[in-house]
C-alpha cells in the first residue's frame, strides 16, 4: 500500500513564526503536491514538484515556499505565518506512467495560526 505521511496532524503557531510542514511518501513517486483545504473552497494547489529539486507554483503560492531535496520528501514552508494561513494542509504524491494521474493523499495537517 502506498503510504503518504505528514509530520503533524495538528499544529498551532503564532503570527510571524516560520512553519515547516513535512511530507514523506514510500512508493518512489516522482510527483508530489501540497494543497490547502478550506470549507467550501475544495482543494487548492499550492505547489507541486515533478522531480527532486524541481518545483512549480500552483494556484495559490503566495506566502509559501517548498523544498524537495530527496525524492521521498516534500516540505512546505510558511516563511512568516499569518492568520489567513489557518487551514488544513494536504500532501499528495503520484507516479508517472499510465497511472500517474492517481494521487495518493496523506492524512493532513490542521494548522492554526494565532
Amino acid at each position: 500500500d502506498v503510504k503518504v505521511t505528514q509530520s503533524s496532524r495538528y499544529l498551532v503557531k503564532r503570527t510571524g513564526e516560520k512553519v515547516f510542514l513535512e511530507c514523506v511518501q514510500d512508493m518512489d513517486h516522482e510527483n508530489m503536491f501540497w494543497y490547502r483545504q478550506d470549507p467550501g473552497l475544495g482543494l487548492r494547489l499550492i505547489y507541486f514538484s515533478y522531480d527532486v529539486k524541481m518545483k512549480e507554483k500552483g494556484d495559490i503560492p503566495e506566502g509559501y515556499s517548498v523544498s524537495r531535496e530527496k525524492k521521498e520528501r516534500f516540505s512546505l514552508i510558511l516563511e512568516s505565518a499569518s492568520t489567513n494561513q489557518t487551514s488544513m494542509y494536504l500532501c499528495a504524491s503520484s507516479p508517472t506512467g499510465l497511472d500517474f494521474a492517481t494521487q495518493y493523499f496523506g492524512p493532513g495537517t490542521r494548522l492554526t495560526v494565532l
Binding site: 494521474a101 494521487q103 495518493y104
Partner: protein, 113 residues
Amino acid sequence: QQQVKQSPQSLIVQKGGISIINCAYENTAFDYFPWYQQFPGKGPALLIAIRPDVSEKKEGRFTISFNKSAKQFSLHIMDSQPGDSATYFCAALDNTNAGKSTFGDGTTLTVKP
C-alpha cells in the same frame, strides 16, 4: 477562475436511494476525470476515474457518466449506504501537465439510515 464546478454543495439521501453529484469543466485539454472520497480526519482517496473516450464507467455501486460535448460528468451512487457518508471531490487534469489536478469544491453526502 474556477475550472471545475461541482454541485450540489451538500446532499442528504435516504439509505437505499441514489446519490448524484455533478461536475462541469471548461478546459478542453482535460483528459482524465477522477473522483475522490474523503472521510472525516482522513485525506481524500481515489474512488473511481474515467477517460473521455468512454461515456460511462461502473465499479460496484459507483458509476461515472461522462458527456464530452457538454463538458460535464457525474457520479452516481446506487443503493446509498450510511457508510458512504463522506465528502466527494471531482477532479480534472491534463495529462501533459505533470499530473496537476484541478478539484471541484466538494460535496458533503449524508446518507440517513
